[in-house]
Each structure stands twice: as C-alpha cells, then as structure tokens.
Subunit: 431 residues, 2 copies
C-alpha cells in the first residue's frame, strides 16, 4: 500500500530555497521512490511574497506568516533555509513541538545555540539534519556523525570558506594583492556585497564550531572559536611562503590537545605537498585525521544554490525515510564534554618575517627574544640588504602564548623596524 | 535507565577482525556512550581457534561452529569479516532470520549476490551496513546511500585498489617497469602473495558493482562490470602519457549513458590537473559528479586493518543506535532498475601508440582505418625514425566498439609493426 504523502514546509525562498523547490518539482517521482512516499509542499514562508522568484509553484503556497505555517499540526518536515538565529530558532522549536522533523542549512543558529535545537529534537522525538550547514554539497556531517562514530578524530583541517579560498588562490598563483583579489572575487560573485563575515573568518568559525561538536562529541559554540581573518595578509607574505614551498590557506582547525580540544580559524602556511594545498578557487575541502581510519579528505563545492540544495534534498530524503519506516536518525552526541582550551595552549609553529636594521648584532638581539620565551628557532634567513633587510624566522613548535609573546617583544626591539608578517604553519608530518 | 547490553558476534578474526576486537575492548566506554548501550562480545567464529592472535580476549569465545553461533536467538549484531561468498552468505541469512542486524566488509558477496542479502534484511526488518566493503576507512557508502540521495549521480571515477595504485605511482614517478614495481609492492606488503585479483581488476570490479548499485539505484553485479587489468601495461606507455601531461590510473568507472548505465574497470589516462591525478601510492579516492552537488572527491586509506576496522566500528555504532532507538536505517534502493549497457556503447577517447614502418604513406593508411570506423583523430605525432618509428594517435570521442574495431584493423595493416599500447582517456572537462 503506498504511503500517505509527507507534508513539507519551507522557511525561506532565496537562492537555496528556490533551488529546493525546483528540485522537489522536477524530481518528484524519483524522490518519492527513494523515500517510499511522495512529498507534498504545504507552504513557503517568505518575507516578501510579491518578489519575483524563478520557481514554478502555486502562488497561494507563499505566506508571510511563518509562525502560523510551522504551528500547523500536519507537517512532517520543516526545511529552514532563511538563516540567522532569530526567528529561525523559534520557528524550528515550534515546528518540532508540533511533531515535525527539521532540515536546516543554518550554520549561524547551530554554531550559536545548537544545544537548544538538539535538545528539543530529543524531547519531541524528531530528527534534526543539517548536512547543508557546513561545506554545502560536500557530504561531511553524516560521515562525521555516523561513519566515523566508531573512530577517534584527532584533528580536522578545513578549507570551508570559498570566498577566502578564491582570494588566497589568486594571491598565491598570480601574486596579486589582497585588495585586487577581493575586487576580482566580488566581480565574479564569489564575494558578497559585505564580505566581512567571510574575510574575518566568522563564516569559517561557525562551521568550525559545528565540526568540532561532531568530531569531539562535545558542545562547541562559535564563541569558543579563536578567530583571525585574512584582511591583513600581504602579497609579500604569500609570496615568501610560496618561495619556501608553502601555500597560505584560511584554515578551520579542530584538534585534541593535552587538556581538551582547541578550535581556531586563521590563515596558515601549509606544505605544497599536503592534499589541502591543491584545493583551489572557491572549492572547499576538509581533511580529517583519525586514529584508525588515518587521513581522510572530503572535497567539493562548498556553496552555491545547487550544491547546497543537494545537501538539503539528501536530508529531506533521509528524514522522509525515517518517517516512512518509523524511527529517527542519529541525535546529538555530546557525552565527551571536553574542555575547549584557549588559543595560548595550542602547540604550533610560527613563521615570522621581520623588517630589520642591516647591522651587526641584529640576529643576536632577535635570537635572545626567542630564547627568553623558550621558543626554539629552526631556521633564520636574511633576505635583502640595507633598508630592505629582512629576517625570516621559522620556529620549532611551542605554545602559542609563548610565540605571541615573542612577537610582541620583537616589536619593541630597536633593531626591528616592523614585524612584516606572522603566520602559523600547519599540516606538516610529525609537526 | 541504562539500556541492556547489545550482543555481538564476529565471523572471522584475521587482520580486520582482530583489530575490531581490540577496539571493542579498548574503547568500550566510548562506544557505549555513542550507542547508548554497552556492547558484549558473544562469540567469534574462526576456522582455527588454536591460531595465535594478537588480541586479548576470553579464549572460550572462539568457536569453529559459525552456523551454531549465528543460529543463536540472542544476538543483536553479527559482524562478518571472513570474506568470500560462501559460507558468509548462508551465515548472514541465518543471522538475519534470527533477528540480528548485519555489518559486513564482504565486497565479493555484495558484488556477486547483494540482492539476496538486501532482500533478507527487508523481510526480517534488520539492518545491513557495509561501509568497509569499498575503500576501507573512507566514508563513501553512507554519503552515496544517504547524503546524495537527493541528487542525481552522473559519473563516478574511483581509484579503489591500493596495490595497483602503488604500482602505477612507481611506474609514473620512477619510470620503472610493471614487474619491478610489482616486486617492490610485494616486498612492502602492498601486494598479496597472489596479487592477481588486484592486478586483473577483479577487486576493483567488485567495488565498482557496489558503487554503481548505490549511485544509480539499480542492481549491478560483478558480472556486469567490463574489466581490464594493468598487467600488460608497459613502462613506455606510462612514460608517453606522462610526456603528454597525463597519468595512468586503474579506474573504476560508473556512469549514466544514453540508454542506461555503464560500469567498467580499466587503466586510463587522466589529465595531471584532475584531482585524482594526485592520489599516490596505496591511497584510494573516489571522484563523484552529481547534477546539483557538482564534483566531489573522497580520499583516504582504502585498506589495512585499522582503517577497515574504523569503517566496521562506525557501522556497529550506527546499527547499535538503531537497535537502542528502535527503527532501522536505509535499506536497498533499486527502484530505478536501469539497464547495464555493454562496453561497446561507452563513449570514450583512445590514445593509441603504433610501431610503424618509417616510409611515405603510413599515415594515410592509418588514417584511412580510423575513418572507416568513423573515428575522428584529434592529434597524430610521429616519434623516432627508422625501426623505432612510432605514431601516437589521440582520437576524439567515439563509441568504444568503433575504437576497438579500429585497433583490430590497425593490427592487420602491413605498415603497422605492432600496436604498442592502447589506453582510454578519462576525466577531461567537457570530454
């Protein structure tokens, strides 16, 4: 006997929402076969129903009354692609309280207050799926939540923001400045009108919080994430990294540390032989190091309407199947409750470029500062002479607090005209 | 109230099985927290219980009576890592009929007769999970079965056999012969004592059948897979590919075609700019092209005890969670029932190296043969002179049958001393 149709409501109908609607229509029979029941669109909540949208759908489905829509008792699935913490959170809580399962692409909400959402799902016995919240079309959440549930994740290094990766790729490959690369990204539509959330690492930090929560079975919010953006990055620093066999990437890093976990977003130098080094333009990739599975990488398009809609549709099928078969999928796993440690405890390496006076004794003074903080130097190279004299210092690993204090003290040295750049080094074997 | 322990039986205790036992012990509390119930090992079926195994486990758990073990009524999960079609199939059918869910790493069984296993799971309302059957520790099955369930997969290109990828990497990077690379792989333990299943593409073909089944929602068995191995590959062909900017890889290819799907395993030239080109040594990677999600890649260790055990443990957690929460996971999806088309219909490009006589009119005769089969030539290069004269021909795309017939006719030409190598070209943009 065919299953009754599953009733689905959509919150938001922008780029991703429109694509979801299009696919729901175009692939209706396919999706019904995969789920075991047809999907029926019960309503679409939007702020401006009069807006022209490129979807062929019954106009009476549009409503501005999102609260009224999710308050209905007959919904099976609520799909939220509106973004932002409120009103999305309240709407999803209402939907779950009425018995609907939830599919959301909302990284801001999950990174800010995922706990409230997961707890409600548990209380009401419904599903919360969110594959689209991190790295768009790349299947990543489900592998972390389920495939690797039998393993121990040690570290995640992710390129999870396409805008900044596009900019960094241009800077690396063409030697252009940050400003020029940003202008190009804006022109091509890779950067938004206000790109600050991308450039400041805010977008990547939200994703890092979600990935860390899943990998370490611990609640991590965006406030726990140490964050540095790429706006201050000079063409010279990128080019110096290139000359040394490294490429600069904005990384989201989640790792187990001696006393808990560390979660951070910052530009870093990675060796050109690292699998992440070849991830170019607006592509995303997430590199995962596990005890048993070893090194894994997931690669693909991290944003855009169709890839994100693919992730949303996959979740709709999963949640739909659960409805048809009875039962729910994986819920929150936060049993480990590890301590999120401050950035100062992170063990890392620094590469520091110093503009220095070209006279005898400079190296001795600089070396003394490193030694005072117990930071061991691996290599020093002098580049140029006279007013262009630079020292490029690569350290051994040390606590970030010691490295940061070293850099602060270097700024105070008379012989140091300027600290031209400071970059952490990541992704090295055995480092 | 804590859930009762879940009772688990293990079939087989070789490299993977021993690692599973080790992890079940070492990570008992962690796994219990993730599942919501502790796991209890009820028995381990082995052929030779007296064999020394590197696991610390109650020796009374070992039994030679596998049928008796799976015939018990009190098992929740049966984990099968013995391999081979029989007796594995009979044992799993018995286990499911008694109500146990199944976790298996058995690619041979699933590629040969997965339908019987999936149907039994459906009849008895139990789970069959098999993440470890393809590409070891790389989460791949779950992404295909679930994450991409809302998308349409057009093509999969996979490097799914570590032994052959190691050999091909050595041939490409060091210019060594197949025989020397194989000897090295054997010495390092990458190749088994009898490596024929790897070299002939049999191992990859089993994985291709499983991937195609999942990607296209269609039953595909290993008998449906067109298969060519790498044993005949010459150092000269690999080196010629290298000079042209290509690398030779043994690919498992699953693709939608005009009239159904095609599934094949053979060595192929791929451009060095393709993400798969950088997958070296014994690493595996699977490249997936979807309508909405675009290009995705999954990368990691495809074999070995710990990576495979990671996949098995992940499945144990998933199946265990389903037991605790009630309900089952994704079952077989074969609704699309697409036709598996013969290799002759595949649209592809050939690169052909011919040893030719060095005299006027050779190119005309060769070109006439291509034209007779409606195969259009993209480039021809003459290499060397006299007795070393070669023609390197790159075709445009054409049906494989026409290309194969062309090569057959070329062999009959007097001016062609030998067809030195024939390789398909894959992974080109817009090709």
């Amino acid at each position: 006997m065919p299953h009754r149709p599953l009733r689905l409501a959509l919150l938001g109908c922008g780029t991703v929402g429109s694509e979801v609607v299009r696919q729901l229509r175009a692939r209706h029979d396919d999706l019904a076969a995969r789920i075991g029941a047809p999907l029926e669109l019960a309503g679409i909540a939007v702020r401006r129903p009069e807006l022209r949208r490129d979807v062929d759908v019954d106009p009476t489905l549009f409503t501005t009354d999102a609260a009224g829509l999710v308050g209905r008792e007959d919904l099976d699935i609520v799909v939220e692609v509106m973004g932002g913490v409120e009103p999305a959170r309240s709407l999803l809580l209402t939907a779950m309280s009425r018995g609907a399962s939830v599919v959301t692409a909302n990284k801001a909400l999950l990174a800010e207050d995922g706990a409230t959402i997961y707890e409600a799902a548990d209380i009401y016995g419904v599903d919360v799926y969110f594959e689209a919240a991190v790295a768009g079309g790349i299947p990543l959440i489900r592998p972390l939540r389920e495939s690797l549930a039998g393993d121990t994740v040690q570290r995640i290094l992710g390129i999870v923001n396409g805008t900044t990766n596009y900019i960094l790729t241009r800077m690396d490959e063409e030697g252009v400045t940050f400003a020029d690369a940003l202008a190009e990204a804006t022109e091509l539509g890779y950067a938004e009108a206000d790109p600050s959330a991308d450039l400041d690492g805010l977008d990547a930090a939200a994703k890092a919080a979600i990935l860390a929560s899943l990998a370490f079975h611990t609640r991590v919010t965006i406030g726990d994430v140490h964050r540095e953006g790429i706006a201050g990055l000079s063409a010279a620093a990128v080019s110096a990294a290139r000359d040394m066999g490294y490429v600069v990437k904005l990384l989201a890093i989640c790792e187990r540390t001696a006393r808990g976990i560390g979660v951070r977003v910052h530009p870093a130098m990675i060796p050109r032989t690292h699998p992440l080094a070849g991830v170019r333009d607006a592509y995303n990739a997430v590199f995962v190091e596990c005890d048993a599975a070893g090194q894994l990488m997931f690669y693909g398009r991290g944003a855009g309407g169709p890839p994100t809609a693919s992730a949303v549709l996959g979740d709709i099928v999963a949640v739909g199947r659960n409805r048809v078969r009875g039962g729910i999928g994986t819920g929150e796993s936060a049993y480990a409750d590890l301590d999120v440690r401050p950035i100062g405890e992170t063990i890392t390496r620094y590469h520091v470029n110093l503009d220095v006076a070209d006279r005898a004794g400079v190296l001795a003074q600089v070396a003394t500062v490193f030694a005072r903080h117990n930071v061991s130097i691996q290599t020093v190279r002098q580049i140029g002479r006279g007013d262009d004299a630079q020292l490029a210092v690569m350290t051994h690993t040390a606590p970030d607090a010691a490295l940061a204090a070293t850099v602060d003290d270097l700024r105070d040295l008379d012989v140091v005209r300027a600290v031209a750049s400071v970059l952490r080094v990541e992704g090295e074997e055995g480092a």
